[in-house]
Symmetry: C2
Subunit: 324 residues, 2 copies
């Protein structure tokens, strides 16, 4: 197998790469388990160095077709497309979002048509494709009427992936990821960035700002579960996928207040008190359009899993931060 | 008002232009009725010559940004975007469909951001955005899971139009048109082309082929009603539009057998017998994915209208063919 991860220098790409290297084999589009021959990490910054001889890194932007051609060589078997401009950034800078979230996705998909065989294509979509009035919980086939440019660009990616799958150009799977907590490192320009920040910073002795109301509910998943679910999405048999290949990934629905209650339970009141409430209408306006409860029926049937509870997510973060 | 019609040399664009010239005024994005100053018809072939001093024609392809820049001058008030590659052609030639149905639409939308003021943008979408298992009748907010490249490209256009409307770049309105019958002229590469052919050709003394089963139902509208409905879409107040600005246009649901029965009633058995049944699995596969009954609640509330019955559609065609 030659496997490509876009956004391979990012936190999720790095974790996914580590897990694929550990497994050492994946199922190809013909349904056969194959050893990993090459794992290509592409990103606009250099990925973490790896001593593993199977890893190859490419630095470049995927809205440039020559980079896409170099990344997706004809013998590529699988693509995990994680590279994206995050929600608040795509809202603040429309052109950057269109270029990275739409043009790069289309370039990758179109390049796939020229490969030796149609590759598996796992697309990191998002719950942000949903917006407006929706059933609660949101089923896989709910209407897609996004209320952000980020959600719009992801929804376009889902449509193109589906059409190209239907035509046999790729074997595509769009997975609508929950908000991932706890992300390590620094805050980013995702509107959901605070959801990691209000856990990560207090645990590190730093104050953190919560820009939304305590009642705001979010659909959450730990990094470890997301990586497992991306791989379930990859390994699933075509025959088990729905006609429209966009799948709600299981998660847990947690109110921001419950997140901080769990932090207090796990790490103590002094840690939890490092969270400052400072309402930000711009962030709140984006987060409030995202539904917070999903009926992830198809994903669950495929074997995707949700975390057991939010305390477990915090504990996993503490354990990993300790190892890092 | 400076008004642009893309696909302005086509049958629908020509009719729409005639009606706009006749009315002489339209409502601008600020809600004020304004006299028509200039009507620009753009197409890849030259439009019908017009003696009207308000009409200007531009020949060029809209996947070329320099043409788009020339067409959408900064003082443009309204765009009717009708230009498209039809369904069977977009299915047969993926790249042409992407270029014309997606790139050209995006070029137009993006150019609108640079105008003096956000223009009204009426986008001819299609019932082909729908596919797969759907409620019957199909409501405006049914899930959009197209089963053709044409439908996919139109659905992407709807998403982009909505996001740009939300951001205030345009005042967009996507209208999902029914299948238009009776189109004059020659068959085209729309999968639905036969629906006009089985009426038009027999009336002209020519045999016509019906490639789908007699039970196949279609959602139909006469050219005159479509033009009126495009103008209702344009004239509607922003405040009356749904949050997601994609609207099912009212139509009538007619089985192919009923269409031919009506032809027999109107024009006689000898005319109706000029229809040959020759099943074409490629055409049938596309047409069969289109729903045939819609709950066009929003469009009806805005004042859009359906034809009274199919006999009336045939009679209107006969009357017009006689005038031509």
């Amino acid at each position: 197998m030659r496997v490509v991860i876009t956004g391979g220098a990012g936190f999720l790409g790095t974790r996914l790469a580590r897990e694929i290297l550990r497994r050492g084999r994946l199922t190809d589009a013909r349904g056969n388990a194959q050893p990993l021959r090459e794992l290509v990490l592409v990103d606009i910054v250099a990925p973490v160095e790896s001593a593993d001889p199977r890893v190859r890194s490419i630095v470049g932007a995927l809205d440039d077709r020559s980079i896409v051609d170099a990344v997706l060589t004809p013998d590529t078997d699988s693509v995990f497309h994680l590279a994206a401009v995050v929600s608040a950034e795509a809202e603040a800078n429309f052109d950057v979002g269109m270029r990275v979230n739409l043009d790069a996705t289309r370039n990758l998909l179109e390049r796939c048509r020229t490969l030796n065989a149609p590759p598996k294509f796992v697309f990191a979509s998002s719950l942000a494709v949903f917006g407006g009035r929706l059933p609660d919980p949101v089923p896989d086939d709910a209407p897609v009427t996004p209320r952000s440019s980020y959600g719009t660009q992801k929804a376009v990616g889902e449509l193109l992936l589906n059409d190209m799958s239907r035509r046999g150009f790729i074997d595509g799977r769009a997975l609508r990821l929950p908000t991932i907590v706890v992300r390590p490192g620094k805050p980013n320009r995702a509107a959901s960035s605070f959801a990691s920040g209000i856990i990560r910073e207090p645990l590190a002795g730093v104050e953190a700002v919560c820009p939304v109301a305590p009642e705001t509910r979010m659909w959450l998943q730990s990094p470890g579960a997301v990586v497992d679910n991306l791989l379930v999405g990859h390994e699933s048999r075509s025959a088990d996928l729905p006609m429209f290949r966009a799948i709600n990934v299981p998660g847990i629905s947690v109110a921001v207040r419950e997140m901080i209650d769990a932090l207090r339970d796990v790490a103590g009141a002094d840690v939890a008190e490092r969270v400052q409430w400072r309402f930000d209408p711009v962030i709140d306006a984006i987060v409030a359009t995202w539904p917070s409860r999903f009926d992830a029926r198809i994903g669950s049937a495929l074997g995707m899993r949700a975390d057991a509870d939010f305390s477990g997510i915090i504990c996993a973060h503490i354990a990993e931060a300790g190892r890092a």
